[in-house]
Symmetry: C2
Subunit: 85 residues, 2 copies
Amino acid sequence: MDSVFKALSDPHRRDILKILKKGDLSVGEIATHFDFTGATLSHHLDILKRANLVVTERRGQFIFYSLNTSVLEDVLLSFSSFFSQ
Amino acid sequence: MDSVFKALSDPHRRDILKILKKGDLSVGEIATHFDFTGATLSHHLDILKRANLVVTERRGQFIFYSLNTSVLEDVLLSFSSFFSQ
DNA sequence: CTAATATTTAGACATTCTTCTAATTATCGA
DNA sequence: TCGATAATTAGAAGAATGTCTAAATATTAG
């Protein structure tokens, strides 16, 4: 759970998750939304992946990232019980 | 919202919130749950306060901290819409 | 096979974060 | 009022974080 909170603590990473809500995107497509380098984006994606918030799938030259919806639901439940109850 | 995510990114601060769920506590009482110094605790409490996650009230010598429940509910709602929809 | 494109990895640097000790402020009890 | 207790503030040190450039890896097209 720690890695999830850490992952969500950066605004750029939260933006990435929001962008992925609309559908899977390749790294290059995600990159068009930001000003920093590909290396930096790669680093953010790695942190999201380690937190299990996203999953990847290679399709030819491209690597597509998508939300790991089941984990996101778990996270939300976890948040609920964290705050209430 | 950024300050909230930042505040929640530290495990000790999340522990503090959990402890406060049981009821208001003075700084000294909160301190009994942790190993670090009072100065460090004070710093964590300051971050939680700036994020509006807790509120304070002086009672004589003591300063009591309690959860800012209305903001916590907002945060949870915000999280929900962040993940779903 | 080679060149081009997509992405990640390595290494460096500046900033931010967590923690500490020491000093300061606030309040109470005698 | 003074000393003791409670909490915060100031300043410093080391670790972690976000970012960059350059190099490496993977895949496709010709």
